[in-house]
């Protein structure tokens, strides 16, 4: 470190007569690599313009506390960067004696002399050691602070200031950086400051940082051994080298997310699997260098500890799913999205692997390979599966779904979205066959569903477990199917039929009438053909349980419904009658119902509501926290102002 090459003649220049040696001071390694001017040339007449970094470093290390260090950081950028380069353990004097002069120690001939020197110096440090103890009491850092830098605020200077400032106030535990300043962008230097000043860092999140590279991440790896969670998104400068360093140096690492990092590949995943005994959460998305090899080595090493995995838009094939199915013994949550190269065999073999014994939640989206055969095998292979969501799985049909439901005995929640081969045969097949435990069924945008007339189909067994039914935007779903659903599932408490334009009172009424448990949440928005009859029935039959009712866009719903609600409902807190045919007298009825304490009321686009409603709205407003009166053409600006004035506690959309 000192005198890089003593024989270097340039260090000993002739001065005056030839027998006199002039000793010029060689500079020690600069503590920082920033382009700051460090006083270089020795001068004949000494004058201190700027103390060299080494001297300042020694002074800074001995500042009495974090307050002083933060204050000194305000002196100049150079001081800030220098302060940020001090590691916490370098504040400790006793350790520095050894680390400052390793070169001499490594030289056996001089070692004795050095130890003598050191011995003589030892007592000098006693003061320093004492202050160090005080220092550690003050900086009893646990990493309780959290900081987020976004866009133009993300600069090295700011990061260094955070590193210096948080060091003695609990320590930085969580750091998020979202993008970087366009002119003075964040560089590896900023991360270096973090690695020096924030040894307690547990969570690091880096998004959209092209200027950060492996060097910065390696610094983090060397300084922040307590890291538990790392999240890298759109960081093209980071390669396997950086992430491998993290994997090898941060044994507490629990959660890793890598998204759209074009230079991170299989070796990183391999290193994570081999070196991180606590890795539980892994998300890999859109990384073109990741292939089967990476996923396979990750799961073969860490399959017994990983609990949550999300794989999206990767060039992986059946092999990866086979490995997951075989080794993923600890997996509880698995999400697979947009895996174009996985075929039927992949899902089949994943289920057959018998490894996913603990899997509770499986979500598959836009994987064209998932088929009846595959989904059935998954159902058989995952005995603990409680939740499955299939989205955009175009090959899955009724047959596969029913076989799956028969096999998956623990299933509690089933979601199907844009699975166009599913029909009502499948739906009723599931409800009739499976699932003593199914609590929630959700269908959305399944265009293959047509209303089928099952006639007087005898109901052999009811589905008594189902509590929540959602059928959204399945235009083919009609009254016949709905009526049957109502008879089949008498224990429903939550019903969401939003966007079913084909249904009428004839379909909804049986469902409402069959429900024994008492409906709690009902969403009928955009069911344009429903009338007051349905709402009245709901209010009369379920008024004691109903808490949430959405009738947005039910244009045939009028004041009759509001009056029924006012008369019968006791616990309703949220009511949406936007774009319904209600008038002032309906509002008046609501306001007159003393037992009702609505918290949220939506009247958006109710053209017939006028200024006359003002006093009623004021009455209702005593309990309201949210009121929507957008596009109510009948309500004047003056009335809106009065409302805003009187209902100051309520959030009013106008």
């Amino acid at each position: 470190m000192f005198l890089p090459n003593p024989k270097d003649s340039s260090l000993f220049l002739p001065h005056g007569s030839s027998h006199v040696d002039v000793y010029f001071m060689p500079r020690k390694r600069s503590r920082i690599s920033a382009p700051f001017v460090v006083s270089g040339e020795p001068k004949q007449q000494p004058s201190i313009e700027v103390l060299p970094d080494e001297c300042l470093f020694e002074v800074f290390r001995r500042l009495p506390g974090g307050q002083e260090r933060s204050a000194c950081a305000s002196v100049s950028k150079r001081w800030l960067m220098l302060l940020s380069s001090i590691r916490r353990d370098e504040i400790c004097n006793s350790k520095i004696v050894q680390s400052v002069e390793p070169e001499i120690q490594s030289n056996p001939q001089k070692a004795n002399d050095f130890s003598e020197t050191k011995q003589k110096c030892e007592f000098d440090d006693s003061n320093g050691i004492k202050s160090e103890d005080e220092e550690f009491q003050e900086t009893d850092a646990q990493g309780c602070l959290s900081r987020c830098l976004e866009g133009k605020n993300a600069t090295d200077v700011r990061l260094a200031a955070i590193a210096v400032g948080t060091a003695s106030r609990g320590g930085l535990g969580k750091l998020s950086i979202r993008g970087s300043n366009s002119t003075r962008g964040l560089t590896n230097l900023g991360l270096k400051a973090v690695s020096r000043g924030c040894p307690d860092l547990q969570v690091l999140s880096l998004w959209n940082l092209s200027s950060i590279g492996d060097e910065g991440l390696c610094e983090i790896a060397s300084g922040c051994h307590l890291l538990q969670k790392i999240d890298l998104c759109h960081c093209p400068g980071i390669t396997d080298e950086g992430l491998i360093a993290i994997a090898k140096n941060c044994p507490n690492l629990m959660s890793v997310t890598v998204e759209s990092c074009s230079n991170i590949g299989n070796e990183s995943l391999q290193a994570l699997g081999r070196n991180c005994p606590n890795l539980k959460y892994i998300t890999v998305k859109n990384c073109p260098l990741v292939s089967d090899q990476g996923i396979a080595s990750l799961f073969s090493s860490a399959g017994h500890i990983l609990t949550n995995a999300k794989l999206q838009a990767l060039n992986i094939s059946d092999v990866s799913l086979a490995v997951i199915g075989h080794y993923g013994s600890a997996l509880t949550d698995l999400t697979l999205i947009g895996l174009e190269n996985v075929n039927e065999r992949g899902f089949w073999v994943m289920g057959k692997g018998q490894g996913l014994q603990k899997l509770r939640s499986l979500s598959i989206t836009a994987c064209k390979g998932v088929s009846d055969l595959g989904i059935e095998a998954v159902g058989k292979g995952c005995p603990d599966l409680k939740m499955i969501a299939l989205r955009k799985c175009l090959l899955v049909s009724d047959r596969g779904l029913v076989s799956f439901a028969k096999a998956a005995e623990s299933l509690e929640s089933l979601q199907l979205e844009e699975c166009h081969r599913i029909t009502q045969y499948g739906i009723f097949g599931i409800l009739a066959n499976c699932c003593k435990k199914l609590k929630a069924l959700a269908l959305a945008n399944c265009l293959g569903i047509q209303d089928l007339d099952f006639g007087g189909l005898p109901l052999t067994s009811l589905c008594l477990s189902l509590r929540s039914l959602t059928i959204r935007n399945c235009p083919g779903f009609g009254d016949a199917g709905l009526g049957l659903l109502g008879r089949l599932c008498p224990k429903l408490t939550q019903v969401d039929l939003s966007g079913l334009q084909g249904i009428t009172d004839a379909g909804v009424l049986p469902l409402v009438q069959c429900s024994e448990a008492g409906l709690v949440k009902v969403n009928l928005s955009e069911c344009v053909n429903l009338t007051d009859n349905v709402v009245t029935a709901i209010a009369k039959l379920h008024g004691e349980t109903l808490e949430f009712l959405n009738l947005d866009g039910c244009k045939y719903v009028t004041d009759v419904s509001l009056m029924a609600i006012a008369r019968n409902c006791t616990v309703i807190t949220e009511l949406d009658v936007s774009r319904c045919g209600i008038t002032d007298s309906g509002i008046a009825a609501l306001a007159a119902a003393e037992q009702i304490s609505l918290q949220i009321l939506s009247l958006g686009g109710c053209f017939l509501v006028s200024d006359e409603s003002l006093p009623f709205l004021v009455v209702l407003g005593k309990n309201l926290v949210g009121l929507n009166i957008q596009h109510c053409r009948g309500i004047s600006f003056a009335t809106v102002d009065l409302l805003l004035d009187q209902l100051w506690r309520c959030d009013i959309l106008s």
């Binding site: 000192f2 005198l3 024989k7 001065h15 005056g16 027998h19 006199v20 040696d21 002039v22 000793y23 010029f24 001071m25 020795p42 001068k43 004949q44 007449q45 000494p46 201190i48 700027v50 103390l51 060299p52 001297c55 020694e58 002074v59 290390r61 001995r62 500042l63 009495p64 974090g66 307050q67 002083e68 204050a71 000194c72 950081a73 305000s74 002196v75 100049s76 150079r78 001081w79 800030l80 004097n93 004696v97 002069e101 001499i104 002399d113 020197t117 003589k120 110096c121 007592f123 000098d124 440090d125 006693s126 320093g128 202050s131 200077v157 700011r158 200031a161 955070i162 210096v164 400032g165």
Partner: protein, 167 residues
């Protein structure tokens, strides 16, 4: 001006070295004292010459460093005595003098003196205004006004409840 090492008479065994300051004055130092400086020790190992010219340490500073080295090279003094010497050595010294001292110790690589002086400087800097620090260290403020305001805001806690001194 040639000063002899006052702490002990020169003998044939105790070799001595002449150190010349940038002002041209020469100091006679025992080799046992000189080798406490890592830099001087290296030079002595390389060269037979007994004259070393230090081009960037002035008389006053060099005299102080040599006094320190000589004291610490004296095996007759107990550690306690040396420790109290150190306290005495830095106490009451002007900040400016300390700056030259710490620079000299860095040049000569006298680690323990460097630590002692740095500690003293750090103690003096406690509770001082940033302006004081800039003046004493002759630092150019290279922050933009916005950046400085931001840094001060980030570190606002460092300024709370403190009586800061400007002298």
């Amino acid at each position: 001006m040639v000063t002899t090492d006052e702490k002990g008479p020169l003998t044939a065994k105790k070799k001595s070295v002449i150190i010349r300051s940038c002002d041209g004055d020469e100091f006679l130092v025992s080799e046992s004292a000189a080798v406490l400086s890592t830099s001087l020790k290296k030079i002595l190992e390389e060269k037979e010459d007994r004259l070393i010219h230090l081009s960037d340490i002035d008389n006053k500073t060099l005299a102080m460093v040599i006094a320190y080295l000589s004291t610490h090279a004296d095996d007759g003094l107990s550690d306690d005595l040396k420790r109290s010497f150190d306290q005495e050595f830095v106490s009451g010294k002007e900040f400016d003098v300390l700056k030259y001292l710490v620079l000299a110790t860095d040049t000569l690589q006298v680690t323990c003196l460097c630590y002692t002086v740095a500690k003293k400087m750090a103690d003096i800097m406690k509770n001082k205004l940033v302006e004081w620090v800039r003046r004493e260290f002759d630092i150019q403020n290279d922050y933009t006004p916005e950046a400085e305001a931001e840094i001060r805001r980030l570190d606002a806690w460092a300024w709370d409840d403190r009586q800061l001194e400007d002298d």
